[in-house]
Amino acid sequence: MIEPFLDNEFMQRALLAGVLLSALAAIVGTYVVLRGLAFIGDALAHGVLPGVAIAAIVGAPILVGAGIASVTMIAGIGVITSRSRLSNDSAIGLLFVGLLSLGVVLVSSSRRIAGDLESILFGEFLGIDSTDLIMLAVSLVIAVVIVSATSRALLVSSFDEDLAQAMGFGVRAHYFLLLGLVAGTVVVAFQAVGTLLVFGLLLAPAATGALVASRIGTMMAVATVVGVISSYFGLLASYHFGWAAGASVVLCAVAIFFVVLFGVKARDMVVRRHV
């Protein structure tokens, strides 16, 4: 159970990355779940692919490409949510599919990075180096500071946007701040779990927290614990069975969500029978 982590430095780095990522994803994912931004967040996660591809083709840092793509995606969402005559979901869905397609076309048309497609889409959890760890730790600190400073506005906006605006909180500014946090998390996390799976780590632990918690702080704590457990067992499964590490971690997190969901439903049924 613990030997792979004691004997292998790459497993230790991967686990530490998993812990940092779990805390970061729990903080940001909690507000994604509370505000019902799962679809936009997923679109944002997938929308970084063309930026990553272009950066790889021109030899620029991947993170810069992912960052630029995220900002472009947020700007696109801003235009759509303020001017579109379509429902936001339809327009954002099309933007998401369009950017994902563009990313795949770019990757597949470039011999230089075609072989890297799998690692871009599904990440390289076991290839995490110390630079990645420092970046994750710095990102976590930044997220903690931003969320601590704006938690009241984020919370009231999640509860009721009209109430938040009537209380003088800048609803739209905090909406984009939250999208920025999601984008930042995606950018620093996609190297571990890939663009297709990064949102699973943002959503599944936080959604599990929402099922069992009756306070926001508890929800974040539960989400962090679920993320850490998923990282541990996901990496362990990857080590023993040769499964893709990022996918194994996300699979664990999603499995925990469904186990807790059914557990909560069963408990509610029992309680109802006894009332």
Binding site: G36, R152, D160, D162, L163, Q165, R215, I216, T218, M219
Partner: protein, 260 residues
């Protein structure tokens, strides 16, 4: 700033040639009205008559299209700390893992700087509001586990805990049972006696009759005055498209307007 510490001004709301609506689409035009401290007015009309739109404009959620609306002598939206707003129910609220007491405390968030903890005054106002709506026993229950009527009481407690000088309520008695309705009416009477001005949007004429004044809306102001003077069969026919007449505490339909 809370009511107790605020400089008192008798004029709370003053609207002049006000047109409200969404974008360039005017819903109600030519509103000239005011509301003094301790007064209450009910905005009454059928669906789409503009009562919620006017309420949202006063809450600073949508800008006036024409004319001016001032709260305590300042443009709407500039006095948010002095205003409490109860809008229509937001679906997201149910999914939040929050206890009742946390939801009520939320309404004090803008009354202190981010890094300051809750004050004794915050706690007292929250406790008082929960007592007023008779939900002290529900304090530690998650909001999502409550019935619709109980949740409405929580939202009304949120409004009361703000200790605002202007209270704006959109369909405040939705889902309330008889004791809840009584608790709400008592609480509003206390707020008024403290000097708060109250504006209620409702389609319920009986509920509107509890206010000092009624503004009948049908895309414009049909009538503005005390309930006894405003609730005439002619005005109600123009407002709702059906003739209503008061018989004791009840309203009965007397005729239907065609082509309304």
């Amino acid at each position: 700033m809370t009511l107790d510490h605020a400089p008192k001004s008798s004029m709370i709301v003053c609207a002049h040639h006000l047109s409200v609506g969404y974008g360039t689409n005017v819903v109600v035009a030519g509103i000239d009205t005011d509301l003094v401290a301790g007064g209450s007015v009910a905005l009454v009309g059928s669906n789409g008559s503009g009562k919620s739109t006017l309420l949202k404009t006063l809450a600073g959620l949508i800008p006036p299209i024409e004319g001016s609306a001032e709260i305590l002598g300042r443009a709407v939206g500039e006095t948010t700390a002095e205003v409490a707003y109860l809008g229509q129910y937001h679906r997201n609220a149910l999914s939040l893992p929050m206890r009742v007491v946390d939801v009520v405390r939320m309404s004090r968030f803008d009354q202190r700087s981010r890094w300051r903890k809750r004050s004794r005054i915050d706690d007292e106002l929250v406790d008082e509001a929960m007592r007023a709506m008779q939900i002290e026993d529900l304090a530690l229950i998650p909001l999502r586990d409550l019935s619709g009527g109980q949740r409405q009481r929580v939202r009304l407690a949120q409004v009361l805990a703000r200790r605002a000088r202007l209270i704006l309520l959109d369909e405040p008695t939705t889902g309330l049972d008889a004791p809840g309705r009584t608790a709400y009416l008592d609480a509003i009477a206390r707020e008024k006696s403290r000097g708060a001005a109250v504006v209620i949007a409702t389609h319920d004429v009986s509920e509107a009759s509890t206010c000092d004044r009624i503004l009948l809306l049908a895309g414009r102001i049909v009538a503005d005055g005390p309930p006894g003077a405003v609730l005439t069969p002619e005005n109600l026919l123009e407002t709702f498209g059906i003739g209503l007449a008061r018989v004791g505490d009840r309203l009965i339909v007397t005729e239907h307007m065609h082509n309304h």
